[in-house]
Subunit: 398 residues, 4 copies
């Protein structure tokens, strides 16, 4: 077994995680939003916040963009990419918005209405092109499509509409782009969601083309579903494209990673380390955060998440695979489990701190952020700007 | 066994169901709202829609009010009650809003902040008084209170804050008012909800005082929880205050009643009929609808729900309780089950139609509504008014 | 819309459902079995019971066999097939037993131990050959394989062992045999089940070969998972091999079909009728019952299930597909839903009775069974035989 | 903040956990049992195993007894207690068996049959008396009672039968005995369980009398239910009687504690430490293990569980309650959460080892056990004895 500090540091060296632009702005539930003065108002704010997080952590070099929310009509994506570069970060995955427009009431590419399907497909293709301009690798597709009532639409017709649309979209990808296909059991559709589980994403991606892979959002599973098993299967099929990280207790709660069930995230990382060991290299996986920081301060929530991801990724790197395999071959359940538990129970706080200090970072990014005064400054400036722009912060459920 | 037609008609004679004002206006999910031109804009619209539904069904004499959304500051509730009366309906349960104001970020009566708790309690007391003016029987309390993260607050401190607040509120009830205490496992709180299940509502109501009862929202349960058992227990404890009816597949989906699992609703009604048979009288239960008509036309969804409630209530009235009891005493599971199935499988469509025609109503309220042109007229007028008022219909998740 | 009676009768004409041999014998939970005197002791009893059910219903011409429980070592399968034929029925799907032998402690074809894998594969191949002798079409594979603890075994290694074994087994199929691959989320494995969902069965079957299809057990899903959607996808992929019918509330409860959520079963049948309409023919699907009649009298439970399956299959045949498609195309959710609800709410009891009488059967198979004295006779004879054979009926959980 | 080592050692000083006699013998699922040669055959074996575990851990001074399995008819409980005392342990909670006898097919105290209810009540009273002889504090009641099908029995009648029975049983308690009332959502009952959740246990215990408390089995909850909240409420109501510890992913999986979700167990202990801090003393809680060691070696599984319980209890003791309360009062969610996470992430392995060594125990009980040769010796002797006694190890599901 190699030196744990070295193991942890090597693991951290190669670990990058993308923060989402929407994680810096105000979000909420259907019952309303609680506003934070320092929340990002526009794309410039989001880029600034993402760059700040990258400066503090050293492992968040890209920011995911949500096209509708981030690229106002007429925005030149090349200019945005330059702005980001000037701040020391890049534009990461491009996320089309296929649910907010009124035309998507009955779905986007799965809608029974041709005009909705056409608009959705055109928007996806636009996003693919936009990603080519910004130098993004991934176009990340989440569909809210589905139905609310039995009989509302033909499940098979919708399936076929999806297959046709994604095949067409795939043909627009450049050679270095990937299309990530996300699944989700429910919300906002409540009877049936067109891409409801990993199997549906898998089949749809396979039919779309070789650059389409499955995206695993840790919050998009049925209760008690074994996510690490899905990850292991996708790895084995070379169909794992990336993650949207968050935690949950009930539904798609979008809480910060590891806040509810940290051991599960550890086990997911363990599958990846194990796969890489066997294959001799890590697969190309997009690690992305997708959370709603409804109550926690946005940047604090992001830093907490990034640090937790590093911590659990590092712990998982400490599993002794030789001992584990030996125990598994003998059917020794207790010893096999102890291999995982020993790594998981290791306190890696100091190792992470050392790694950061060695890279010129503060040992504790959260404390460094608090000491920086960034939030207070942003709050003052953004609150005033929000007022100047007359941005309403009202929201009523009904 | 008495004549089934008579049994069904007698059951319908005593069955009243309250429609919610918010079911007539635009609602959605956190990802946005799909707007309908005919959706109600203000309280006058809601009263008109509710009166229309009552005219068509003959069994919806009251409309539930959501105070914040329905009573603009300065509104005289007595005037509202008069308006409603002029339309042939009454103001039903009063629903405080304890989640929308920014002050409720960490809770209302459960908040760690005294000013939030004070505002919430004052609002509840205002609602109690408002109910006295409008002649409403029930003040219906749903709390979004809870926490999103382990450690966020003391669970026991929050419990005690609830007990204190509801006891104080109860002291303001007049003799003919009831306080209904609703529970919900999650959403918008994602780690812990202060009143998460029937047991928590039960204990809190008991401590509040004798006029506090439990409100059962059919969508507010854990997956696979047996709702009719909870109803049976609350009946036996004389603590069942009322229902919020809707249907669900995953979470609090707020779909129309019986659209997903109609047999479950039948079984709930069966518990009530059985209880009434034994006690010789029906308990005083508030039957209320609480749904989000996000995709279906609002009034059609409401009519469908009312008719489904009548249908399942009528079917449940057809259970042969003598035969059922005899089978139960003998431990004859198959025969006991058949008693339920036989009643459930009876097609009561014609009996319901006859009952309606006998009361001067159309046999099919939905068709009568469509023939009335009500929605087209409302759509034209309200679309224009919405435009004149400059009401924005934009919503962005992030 | 054609005549409903004719539609129902045509639907029933082509509907066959297979009863399971184990549904006639005593089963229980881990906490014990409650014994019934009339429960089948051996294969002869099971064949007699299955033939009795077929005589009463006219739609259960085959009985599924569980090899370990039904074919004692040395049994000549051809003799069994002859016995069955003499009783007027045939041997249906062949079910290997891959979980009861002590060697399967850590799995069968997924075990880390080669001797367990070898024994399992050999047993499957034996079952394939046995099916050829008995003239069975389907070999139905359910695997209890999985792990109880994180780390216990390599998830990917187990996946690969499954792929290898089923590919090998598939090569032994004759041209008219199919291999059905069942999935189940948990129990008896509690951390991870090797074939946990439809996607895992689908991929494994695809790799096994063209005669491998997916088997859907209605009780083997996560809470709130949409089974009819899975059925629709499998139909569209031409990968639906058959069903194990039962009902559930919590886990794999193995209750009688439609006893908890009849509308769900109706919707599953609706997908099949809709698919057949579009393709012009019904796909070849094995409809099989897989239930545990722990408390209900075995034969009564079976008859109830068969009749409920016919009832819901018939109701689903009544859906007006033209009206449904028209509503779907217009996005008219309410009218589309009403197409389903109208068919579901039709009381088909009399139509079923007529169909039976027209085929020389009693209108009500359950009453005919009770009148026949079959159970009393079986109870007397089997109780004595059980005593003579010294069959213990003790069971202790710990 | 006091010295962590001292805090941990003090916490461990007062922490006792009871092992269950049935955890030492062979258990399984409904699909069968996998037998271990070293599994306990009779009560003497179980006492020996429990004493061995206590010698190794120093914190398991009592063993729970399952009356039917442990006390053969004619056994003098005083003799058993003496035997246990001679081995250095005591008889802990007494567990009646109210589900195995054929008379309990439709329930025990909830059965529609008077003879079943009478037998059940008499058995409970016998257990109370037996506990008085053995010097046990707790009589621990788990009821398998419930129904499998809608209509099978009257839910309210069953509720009332429970109330009457437990009130009667309570009157037989001596002053120093407690009656623990356990709940469970399902299994073996699949439609409705009479005591399905904490609220039902709470009400039933309240009606039974002041010495009746609620027993929380960590595996007996709905998916995603917040167990620590239930614990907090029961503590606040002074109704928490004890725990049955185990872990789960899907249902009542009875896996070893902390094997699936260790952070949840930490949070449960945190509620207890917090309550004790406020009240100045720890409440009297029975910490008991209730697991099925179906695959893991029995004694290893028990040692792992005990050590994990100590570890998580110790970690939870490290929470800085001053800092936590301060953060909660300010609504600082991130800092409050960090208080929990910091304690949870502390590696307490060495502190536990030191505590053990300081008490003359091995630092690692599992390694000490393996080095002792206990299992090999037991396996040899018990395998032979099992053979001599002609104990069958066969089990067939159907």
């Amino acid at each position: 077994m190699p030196d744990p500090v070295q193991t942890v540091h090597q693991a951290l060296d190669s670990f990058r995680i993308e923060t989402p632009s929407w994680g810096y702005s105000d979000t909420g539930t259907r019952f309303g939003k609680f506003h934070q003065p320092a929340a990002a108002i526009d794309l410039d704010d989001k880029l600034a916040d993402a760059a700040h997080v990258h400066r503090l952590t050293g492992c968040c070099p890209t920011v995911a963009a949500h096209v509708l929310w981030d690229f106002a009509p007429g925005t030149d994506p090349a200019v945005v990419a330059s702005k980001a570069a000037a701040l020391g970060i890049g534009i990461g995955s491009i996320n089309p918005n296929l649910f907010q427009d009124q035309i998507y009431k009955l779905g986007s590419v799965g809608s029974p209405f041709e005009n909705a399907r056409d608009q959705a497909l055109a928007h996806i293709i636009d996003c693919i092109k936009l990603g080519q301009v910004t130098g993004s690798r991934a176009v990340s597709l989440w569909f809210a499509d589905g139905t609310n009532y039995p009989g509302q639409d033909s499940i098979r017709a919708r399936k076929q509409r999806f297959e046709a649309a994604l095949k067409e979209a795939h043909s627009h990808l450049s050679a270095d782009q990937v299309m990530l296909v996300e699944y989700k059991p429910f919300e906002p559709a409540f009877y049936q969601t067109d891409l409801a589980d990993w199997g549906m994403s898998f089949l749809t991606a396979k039919k779309a083309g070789p650059q389409a892979k499955v995206l695993v959002d840790t919050g998009h599973h049925y209760n008690s579903q074994n996510i690490e098993q899905i990850v292991a299967w996708l790895l084995d099929e070379e169909m794992l494209g990336g993650f949207h990280f968050n935690d949950r207790r009930y539904a798609d709660d979008d809480l910060t990673l590891g806040s509810i069930d940290p051991y599960q995230i550890f086990r997911i990382f363990h599958e990846i380390h194990g796969f890489a060991r066997e294959r001799g290299a890590y697969p190309e996986i997009e690690y992305m955060i997708d959370q709603s920081h409804n109550l926690k301060p946005k940047i604090e929530a992001m830093l907490q998440t990034v640090c937790t991801a590093q911590e659990l990724y590092a712990k998982a790197a400490l599993v002794d695979h030789e001992a584990l395999s030996a125990a598994q071959r003998k059917g020794n359940i207790v010893d096999a489990e102890i291999c995982l538990k020993k790594a998981y129970n290791t306190d890696v706080t100091a190792m992470l701190g050392d790694w950061r200090v060695g890279r010129g970072l503060a040992a504790d990014p959260l404390q460094a952020h608090r000491a920086s005064g960034y939030t207070e400054k942003a709050a003052a400036e953004r609150a005033k700007r929000r007022q100047d722009l007359g941005i309403a912060t009202e929201h009523s459920y009904a």
